[in-house]
């Protein structure tokens, strides 16, 4: 270490209306793992795309091994041994692994045909050299995401890259695959002399994997640290630009009253298969009930059933002693259930409509926002939107801005602002912080706990275990359409809960579904 392999000097990149990179200086040492972190829109990807030759910087210089270079396309970057693995893989699904790896520089037979045997041999050699096992003859479409990423890495190495840029490499991986990737990256750097730049926004991964870390915020480079000297708190503060208060959610003791009762419900998924096999639960005022589970085990359908968007095959849903079976979504909303859906763009918003129109949804016939019954009172509607924009810290120049022009975090705040402002007894909240940056996550978590402290009954579904643990008073685990365990906050560790989420506790359970099991 110590030799500068890449130097970026005063790099700026201007897009129409946005200064994506503002006078960035960055040095990468030979043989290090250098993490670049920042919130969504901080300019990480722009900077790396500039280094990879996809964009030309508006101003500034790039030096490789001390020589000034100018990249007009990725081909120039590859000539200088820089390769990039994108967040979204660029593989041909119907080709084999070997065919994908040699794509673009295929070995030929008679100058016309691809030499498949040669391609397979190349792949096997690469596989051996770098210790990345793949089956050259397998078709990519049949391969797991983790292995596909391996193929992408091999592809880049095959092109001769000594510097690898990995853009959000763990976004699509399971925790296990992530660990495998990390040992691969370590091996490439420690034993094979490669240099790796990794873009991410997951702080734990940065601390685990990298040698040095550079933090970006709003297009600027905030600073570079040795990872040894960093911790989550410091990095989060640098990313967000102010103190981030983790684990300081104040819970008040609130009187509990049972509000929602779900009794032995069954429901089918879109393909007509029984996905909710037997779920019972109850929800009390002043609590957050977290549902932990791997996606696709019936959580989405459970929420849809509770909000009237999916029909029930069997069982009963009772709110304040009234059955909600066969109620329309409108009736359920009126029965005091608000809903933050898991996919905000598919269900929670219309991206072609303005912020105030999105906030109006659900109140369009409310007397407060209409004149002479049928006409909308735009003045009052906009007033409410303005108030909510202020209260929920939605970053926008005005309430007339189209939702599609907001960042993910601000879109989510619009949904939360609308649903929370109904002041319902019950809130059903799914994946509240998915794809949302740290500053907004903190804010959203605070809002949820505030609702709880005011006495709302909150059902929280999240794929993010940290979130479940941080917010819930009680946790239910769901697996294959059944509740496999129930725990009080603090009675169980994340590791243990993983067993219940994967059904591996079945023998311990002895088939007793829905029983109370205290860690």
């Amino acid at each position: 270490m110590g030799d500068k392999i890449i130097e970026l000097k005063n790099i700026s990149k201007q897009f129409p209306g946005v200064l994506a990179n503002d006078n960035i200086n960055l040095e990468i040492d030979k043989g290090e793992i250098h993490a670049i972190i920042g919130e969504n829109g901080a300019g990480k990807s722009t900077l790396m795309n500039t280094l990879y030759g996809l964009f030309e910087p508006t101003s500034g210089e790039i030096y490789i091994d001390g020589n000034k270079v100018r990249f007009l396309s990725p081909l120039d970057a590859i000539k200088h041994k820089i390769g990039m693995v994108h967040q979204h893989f660029m593989l041909v699904p119907s080709f084999t692994v070997a065919e994908n790896i040699v794509l673009g520089i295929e070995p030929r037979k008679n100058k016309l045909f691809i030499n498949k045997d040669e391609a397979i041999k190349i792949t096997e050699d690469l596989s051996k050299t770098y210790g990345l096992y793949v089956d050259p003859r397998q078709k990519v479409e049949t391969i797991s995401v983790g292995i596909q990423q391996r193929i992408e890495i091999l592809k880049v190495l095959h092109k001769g890259a000594d510097i690898l840029i990995l853009d959000e490499p763990t976004a699509v991986l399971t925790p296990q695959e992530t660990q495998e990737l990390f040992s691969i990256v370590r091996n490439l750097v420690d034993n094979l002399g490669k240099t790796v730049i990794i873009i991410t926004h997951k702080l734990q991964e940065v601390l685990q994997l990298s040698d040095r870390v550079s933090v970006m915020r709003q297009g600027k480079m905030i600073g570079t640290l040795n990872t040894k000297e960093a911790n989550e708190q410091i990095l989060a503060e640098m990313m967000v630009g102010r103190e981030v208060l983790f684990d300081k959610l104040e819970r008040k003791e609130v009187p509990h009253k049972e509000i929602l009762k779900v009794q032995n419900i069954k429901a089918k998924d879109n393909r007509g298969l029984m996905i909710i096999k037997d779920i019972s639960l109850n929800l009390k005022s002043g609590e957050v009930l977290g549902i932990a589970g791997i996606e696709g085990n019936g959580q989405s359908e459970l929420i849809e059933v509770l909000t009237g968007l999916r029909s029930l095959e069997d069982g009963d849903i009772i709110v304040n002693d009234v059955s909600l079976i066969n109620s329309t979504p409108k009736e359920i909303r009126n029965a005091s259930i608000a809903h933050v859906p898991e996919d905000r763009l598919a269900m929670g918003l219309s991206k072609d409509a303005s912020i105030y129109e999105n906030i109006l949804m659900g109140s369009q016939y409310n007397e407060e926002y209409t004149k002479i019954k049928i006409q909308l009172n735009n003045k009052k509607i906009k007033k409410r939107a303005k108030d909510l924009i202020k209260k929920f810290d939605i970053r926008t120049p005005s309430e007339d801005v189209l939702i599609g022009n907001l960042s993910g975090g601000n879109m989510q705040k619009v949904v939360i602002a609308r649903e929370f402002s109904f002041n319902t007894e019950i809130l059903i909240i799914a994946q509240p912080t998915r794809g949302v940056d740290i500053g907004a996550i903190e804010f959203i978590h605070e809002q949820i706990i505030e609702k709880r402290n005011q006495g709302a009954a909150i059902l929280l579904v999240s794929a993010d275990l940290d979130e479940i643990f941080r917010l819930s008073d009680r946790i239910l685990t769901i697996y294959e359409g059944r509740i496999t365990g129930e725990f009080k906050q603090g009675d169980i560790t994340k590791k243990e809960i993983g067993l219940y989420m994967t059904g591996r506790n079945k023998s311990e359970l002895g088939g007793g579904i829905g029983e109370e099991i205290n860690g």
Binding site: Q14, L309, S350, S354, M361, I374, L402
Partner: protein, 360 residues
């Protein structure tokens, strides 16, 4: 359109005017290639459409069916339904009005005229209900069903006016003349402009109010933009689609009614030269904005009226106007693409300038 931000709105107007300008330029090119003088051609077009009271009257007479079918297309579009069946709905609406006009010949106009209008609206709405229910219940693509139903309606009314309802005054594929009290009076001598333009104005006002100001219009718009979001928010999206289609069919039906009561005083085979298709194009061009529909209908009406005078005066075929209309559509459809080309060009310019400065 007022929901758009100022910048997007002005961008849209700029591209609209550029599109119209560019297609008029292409019109010049076509005239020059054919050895005609474009100045003479276009001045004949303008005088033909606005040069005299008669010409202005004819221009405005043409806007009546265009506005109604344009609004009809727009309201269905708001709810996410592409009603290409306006033509069929217009035919049935027109025939229904004619039927009232030749059957209930003793009714006073105060009752007869509203009855005829209502009958035409109901006929059009009922004909719009068929594709709507097929779409909502069985997910049948409405574009295909509405196009096919156009042909059915044209042939069916063609049969009616040639056989059971054929006029006894010669063989012409038309009904008898409707009773006198049903006939709208003409406003300008010799022109077809008649009192139906006032009905049209009132209807347009109501539809504008409905689409832009009411809770119903809001629900319609949300259904069209994202039906899943609408359902989640408690809107009955299927009902919205059906109601939108009923209104749409009703408006197109009324376009037929006014052709019968105001222009021809009878129902004719092939009564519409494709008004509903022009109305649809108009709605597309102005992105379903009710006020835009009215303005664009006047423009289209002027093109249609002026083109005939142009052909008579200069020998330039009136079909040139069709070319111009189509090119406007193409430009509007390509709006996003043109914006990109422009942006890239600007980016390239600025980066070239930078490189130039570096080298200097």
């Amino acid at each position: 359109m007022k929901k758009l931000m100022g910048k997007q709105r002005s961008e849209y107007f700029i591209s609209l005017f550029l599109s119209i300008f560019a297609s008029l330029l292409i019109g010049v090119l076509i005239m020059v290639i054919n050895g005609k003088n474009p100045i003479v051609g276009y001045s004949a077009l303008v005088t033909g459409s606005f040069g005299s009271t008669y010409n202005i009257a004819t221009t405005f007479a043409k806007t009546v069916p265009l506005v109604l079918t344009g609004l009809g297309t727009a309201i269905a579009f708001r709810a996410g339904i592409f009603n290409v069946g306006g033509e069929g709905q217009l035919y049935l609406g027109g025939f229904a009005a004619a039927y009232i006009g030749i059957t209930f010949t003793k009714l006073p106009p105060m009752i007869g005229i509203p009855l005829a209008i209502l009958a035409g609206a109901v006929a059009g709405a009922a004909y719009g209900y068929i594709p709507a229910i097929l779409k909502v219940k069985y997910k049948v693509d409405e574009v295909i069903t509405t196009i096919m139903l156009n042909t059915v309606a044209a042939l069916f009314t063609g049969y009616l006016v040639n056989h059971p309802f054929a006029t006894t005054q010669g063989k012409m594929g038309a009904t008898e003349i409707i009773a006198e009290q049903y006939q709208f009076s003409k406003l300008i001598k010799l022109s077809t402009l008649n009192t139906s333009i006032f009905y049209m104005a009132a209807i347009a006002l109501i539809i504008y109010y409905l689409m832009e100001k009411t809770s119903f219009g809001y629900e319609l718009k949300m259904t069209g933009q994202n039906s899943q979001f609408a359902r989640y928010g408690g809107i009955n999206d299927k009902k919205q689609m059906i109601v939108a289609m009923l209104i749409s069919g009703g408006l197109c039906g009324m376009a037929g009614v006014f052709e019968v009561l105001g222009v021809h005083y009878r129902f004719l085979q092939n009564i519409s030269p494709g008004y509903a298709f022009d109305g649809m194009l108009i709605a597309l061009i102005v992105k379903n904005n009710p006020i835009g529909i009215i303005l664009m209908s006047i423009f289209f009406g002027a093109l249609k009226t002026g083109s005939i005078s142009m052909e008579n005066a200069t020998g330039i075929p009136s079909e040139l106007v069709l070319v111009i209309q189509s090119i406007i559509i193409l430009f509007i459809a390509g709006e996003a693409g043109f914006k990109n080309i422009y942006k890239n060009w600007r980016l390239k310019k600025s980066s070239e300038r930078k490189v130039g400065e570096e080298n200097a």
